[in-house]
Symmetry: D2
Subunit: 142 residues, 4 copies
């Protein structure tokens, strides 16, 4: 299980910056998707292990708050944490900071909600213990 603080570095590409000179809004969802995979991996759950175990996660909601623009070559770090787990869903929170300093500016906040589904097509299922562990949450009793 990873600690309470997981940080994911982002290489901002030149092509992600728009005519206003800042990263276009849609790219943050791309960053969050990458950061989610890395977060689960750091928690001991590679994506293929999840599939091999018969489940997958599906995005059902995204929220982004844009505080300050990010520019090309800014040294971006994204902190990921799990802020909620339900029976079949969980929520990740993302903080996009310019630089590694503890007091570095927070440029963007994100939140994504996922449901766990079976890979056999039978729909939603409860969060498996290995996913609970990877999220840094306590496994469901029983």
């Amino acid at each position: 299980m990873h600690g309470s603080e997981f940080t994911f570095p982002v290489n901002v590409r030149y092509m992600e910056v728009d005519a206003q000179g800042v990263v276009f809004n849609a790219w943050y969802l791309t960053y969050f998707d990458d950061a989610m995979t890395a977060f689960l991996l750091a928690g001991g759950l590679p994506y293929h292990t999840m599939l091999d175990a018969g489940f997958d996660v599906q995005l059902v909601r995204s929220e982004i708050d844009y505080k300050a623009g990010v520019r090309w070559q800014d040294p971006i770090l994204i902190t990921v944490s799990c802020s909620h787990t339900g029976r079949t869903s969980f929520t990740l929170d993302f903080e996009v900071r310019r630089g590694p300093e503890v007091d570095a500016e927070v440029c963007t906040l994100g939140r994504t909600v996922y449901v766990v589904i079976s890979t056999d097509g039978s729909g939603k299922r409860e969060i498996p213990p290995i996913l609970h562990a990877a999220l840094g949450a306590d496994p469901e009793p029983g």
Copy 2:
């Protein structure tokens, strides 16, 4: 001023579809950005007119709810409406439907919040009457 219902067609590109066969989540923000510009244009406000009048709009928040996946070559239509105007900000609501029928499946819901800023760098400003009109809202009195 456009009517209460504005609809924007989207040509889903092959490259927007991911390994799961559905449009990757980030592309919806790209669709919404395009749809916003078209919505204001249909309301009588081309983007360059906005800039010429000394103001611009800046995205401060996005929300997306994913209901059903969109596939390549699906005939997607996005309905845009202004659900709120404040003193310096406004909110647009987006409904992504598969097909033109009134009862076509709603695949995705979006909401974006913008603030109006001066192009002279002086920061936020009140919504100008031409923008109020384009949004389909009543112009501010006075």
Copy 3:
């Protein structure tokens, strides 16, 4: 069979324009991919018909010459034509023009080479007559 001149309109998105104010180079390959599908469709060959007939096309080479930058909201039209067919491969030529006029500026030239493959995994195969027809080339004798 479509005529010798097939034209595909492109809606340049705001997010495709980079910090220099022109469409970033990679997006042209996205335009060409869309234009290829539309070209075959106009020639009587929808993509799903191709798959149903047991073959697919695979990109093996791309070339782009950048002549002039394309800007957001430029009324872009792409002319597509088949410049070569071999036994198992064919070549498409693309001309990106700013506007519908015959003498409109050519901003970008592209060329893509595809091989035809069987969908059963057996590799390359000869160009089927329905693809030859869609490309505007004479079907192979015999």
Copy 4:
């Protein structure tokens, strides 16, 4: 000046993989753009130094040969080298390999041609010595 072999690692994003399970062709140009910047930086020329010195580079031609598909999470490395310098232009060659081994499979080959332009709008100019040095080529005599 960097040595004759410069290698740039790429983090393939999930969203870059298309419905066929391999990286969509356009993303390679994005990788090459990033790799070019890193190549010049490794050669002692940060992008901002180039601009500060009054010149910029402009892409005029791209070529890509696709040999084998790249998949999500493949450990991709791109080798960059300068294969030609002219008076006002230069050519970079890219080899995309799956893995760091010397005999790792070459998945994609790329070639891009740039011209050097003045940032004052006066057009093409000769390759400056600091760019020649960064490219690993001998500076022009005189």
